[in-house]
């Protein structure tokens, strides 16, 4: 190389820096992970803007629209929280499973079965029509969790017993869940041939903030419902379980190093089934709270892909249950106000971009990039 450059008449411009990538040996600084996540979200939004612009839209108008109609007033903020509630619960469902490197992408189906279980309480009926509200809250949440857990148990059992890949089986269970619900929506519980069940009676609804409007007029028209209590309590419990309890330690150990876990006498098979049950129950609770708090009847279109968005939320939150709450609000805003953005695929695209850049940004977490000035020798 050296003698060629001598022959050249003009000195060739050379890139003056050396970029070196090396594995991080020490623990990365605490601020690095949130900064990288934020950077990933910002880059994703920028590229999303570019796509909107190419598609002939106005990216600034689209984003201000999303911000205004998701966080701009107490009313829309409350609606954002309504979208965030199921997202928190499915985000938690994904987080606990992913922590064990158990790829439950069946939260969508578990959500549907949770909705089915909660509807059953009213429509079968499990409780009499005029049962008190607190009974409906407890029993429908319980039924939702049970059916969600059942839907999680099947792939968990198949994985533990027959080593069946849980990614495919949970996904297939999603499709089966939709058809299962359809049978009841179109057939058994159909209200005079319409593709939905009857509206639930009011005492089966989850309480809303607007129910408090009589005493405090401020809450008038606010739709945020009791499900938020489920979500926040679940997040706190899960945080404690994962970071403080013995079981959480087992889950983390299996996720990080299954061989070490096995030598330590931890049963991987038992934990696969248990974690799938808990994960399914959380997603089922999401479905139950959505049905009892928002939809108030069993029908087909109850989810704009909550279960799949939960995967991204879990990843954005770095599988930390408390961070799931924040990430869910962000995605709740995107889903709520993104509905009116044209072209209609934009919110899905932005979700995809966020996820891609998040994963790519992990590289900078694991590796240190050194840029040094080149020294001529």
């Amino acid at each position: 190389m050296a003698d060629i450059s001598v022959k050249e008449s003009a000195p060739k411009w050379k890139f003056p820096f050396k970029i070196k990538i090396e594995n991080r040996v020490d623990n990365p600084p605490r601020w690095l992970s949130p900064v990288l996540s934020l950077a990933a979200v910002v880059i994703a939004l920028l590229i999303g803007a570019l796509v909107i612009w190419i598609a002939g839209g106005d990216p600034w108008a689209a984003y201000t629209h999303i911000a205004k109609y998701s966080l701009g007033s107490w009313g829309v903020l409350s609606d954002t929280m309504v979208k965030a509630i199921p997202l928190m619960l499915v985000g938690l469902a994904c987080s606990i499973a992913f922590r064990m490197k158990l790829w439950n992408i069946g939260a969508e189906g578990q959500f549907f079965l949770g909705a089915f279980g909660a509807s059953m309480v009213v429509l079968l009926p499990v409780l009499p029509m005029e049962a008190p509200k607190w009974q409906f809250i407890l029993v429908s949440a319980g039924f939702g969790m049970f059916f969600g857990a059942l839907w999680g148990f099947v792939p968990g059992f198949l994985k533990a017993r027959y080593n069946v890949n849980e990614i495919i089986s949970t996904l297939m269970m999603n499709y089966i869940a939709i058809e299962w619900n359809n049978y009841f929506i179109y057939g058994v519980w159909s209200e005079s041939g319409f593709q939905m069940s009857r509206m639930f009676q009011r005492n089966a609804w989850l309480p809303r903030l607007s129910d408090l409007a009589k005493r405090w007029p401020f809450f008038g028209g606010l739709t945020t419902h009791f499900g938020i209590v489920f979500a926040v309590v679940a997040a706190l419990i899960l945080w404690w379980v994962l970071s403080k309890s013995r079981w959480g330690y087992e889950i983390r150990l299996i996720g990080d190093n299954p061989r070490a876990a096995e030598y330590a006498g931890i049963s991987i098979k038992k934990n696969i089934v248990l974690v799938m049950i808990v994960s399914g129950a959380l997603a089922g609770l999401a479905g139950a709270s959505e049905i009892m708090g928002v939809v108030h009847r069993l029908q087909g279109a109850i989810s704009p892909g909550y279960g799949y968005t939960g995967i991204i939320i879990a990843w954005l939150a770095k599988l930390n249950p408390l961070a799931v709450i924040l990430a869910s609000i962000l995605f709740g805003a995107l889903i709520l106000a993104g509905r009116e953005v044209q072209p209609s695929g934009i919110p899905t695209l932005i979700q995809g971009l966020i996820m891609v850049f998040l994963i790519a940004s992990d590289f900078f977490y694991r590796n240190r990039v050194r840029i040094t000035r080149k020294v001529e020798d």
Binding site: V51, A55, W103, I105, L158, Y162, N163, V164, N165, I167, I168, S169, L171, M172, M173, Y175, I176, E179, W180, N182, Y183, Y186, G187, V188, Y308, I311, I312, W315, Q342, P343, S344, G345, I346, P347, T348, L349, I350, Q351, G352, L353, M355, V356, L358, I359, A360, D362, F363, R366
Partner: protein
């Protein structure tokens, strides 16, 4: 309930699964699990439809579809091979991204129905006269079906009997050893992820330009990409078994649709005919069967101790110990 008709349309819809499955086999044989098949198929279906409408040529649509999906697959390749990220989560991300792209760019395509050209359909003279088999395999099929017949043995031969196929398997089984022999591990992996993308795009184009023409947003593929990934495990990374699985699956999907028709089955009254809502249970069958296929495939693989490429899902880092 014409059995020949059901099997014939099983071959047609199974062809889609065949291409997608074999594409994933290539990718996984090189050690890269790509869960983005569904998304890449959607990209393929959308790009094929859009390009065929713009150029008025179905073949142009097919070509654009393959390149588009191949290009998208390289995102996954970059993230997993160069950035060494987890392959499962990256594949899921690719799915979201590709679905988003195809929904954005597919906006308004549904209305183009009758103007988009389709790939040709024809019968093979002579062969289609064979009783039974002719009607199933060679009568009034899309050209993609016939290409599929040639494709199966060719890919098997390529993977198992040629030098590049040997390199492919080496990279997927023991990349460190392959590297010492001078096989370019990173390049090989990029290449076969690209091949997987091309074939997923081809599968998508086969849907939108031939098997069930049209663009219906996310419903165009209806989970077939995921079924294909399941079939790879059932097929134990072998194109022949992939073809068998794909065609069986196609026939099953068709059988499910036809079961509601007759009032009597084998002289018994058909419950699916009298209560149309039971049809929802019929629609579950393909998905239930995917799980059943997985159980069969997994337990066979466990017994025979063959199948899964040893380095599947693991990043290769030069100079590090281990696989």
């Amino acid at each position: 309930m014409d059995l020949i008709l059901i099997l014939a349309s099983g071959i047609a819809t199974g062809t889609v699964l065949l291409y997608a499955t074999v594409g994933e086999i290539f990718s996984e044989r090189s050690g890269i699990l790509n869960l983005g098949v569904e998304g890449m198929m959607l990209i393929g279906a959308m790009a094929a439809y859009r390009a065929a409408a713009a150029t008025n040529s179905a073949w142009m649509g097919l070509l654009v579809a393959m390149l588009a999906a191949g290009l998208v697959s390289q995102i996954h390749a970059f993230i997993t091979i160069t950035l060494q990220a987890d392959q499962v989560i990256s594949g899921l991300a690719l799915n979201f991204l590709a679905t988003g792209i195809s929904l954005v760019l597919g906006e308004g395509l549904t209305s183009l129905r009758d103007v988009v050209p389709q790939l040709p359909k024809f019968s093979i003279p002579g062969l289609s006269q064979i009783p039974w088999l002719g009607g199933i395999f060679f009568y009034n099929h899309s050209i993609m079906v016939y290409i599929g017949y040639l494709f199966i043995p060719l890919t098997w031969y390529f993977i198992n009997r040629t030098r590049p196929g040997l390199h492919l398997r080496a990279v997927g089984e023991y990349p460190a050893a392959a590297d010492t022999l001078g096989i370019r591990v990173y390049f090989t992996r990029y290449l076969y992820v690209f091949v997987g993308g091309l074939l997923a795009g081809l599968a998508g184009a086969t849907i939108s330009l031939s098997i069930s023409p049209g663009w219906f947003g996310g419903l165009t593929t209806a989970g077939q990409g995921w079924i294909a990934i399941g079939l790879v495990i059932f097929a134990q990374w072998n194109p022949y078994r992939a073809a068998f699985g794909g065609f069986t699956f196609g026939a099953l999907r068709r059988l499910v649709l036809d079961l509601q028709g007759p009032a009597l089955i084998f002289g018994l009254s058909n419950p699916f005919h009298y209560n149309i809502h039971y049809g929802f249970f019929l629609k579950m069958i393909p998905y239930i069967f995917t799980v059943v296929f997985l159980v069969i495939g997994s337990s066979q693989a466990n017994r025979k101790r063959i199948g899964t490429p040893a380095a599947l899902g693991l990043p290769y880092i030069r100079g590090q110990r281990g696989l």
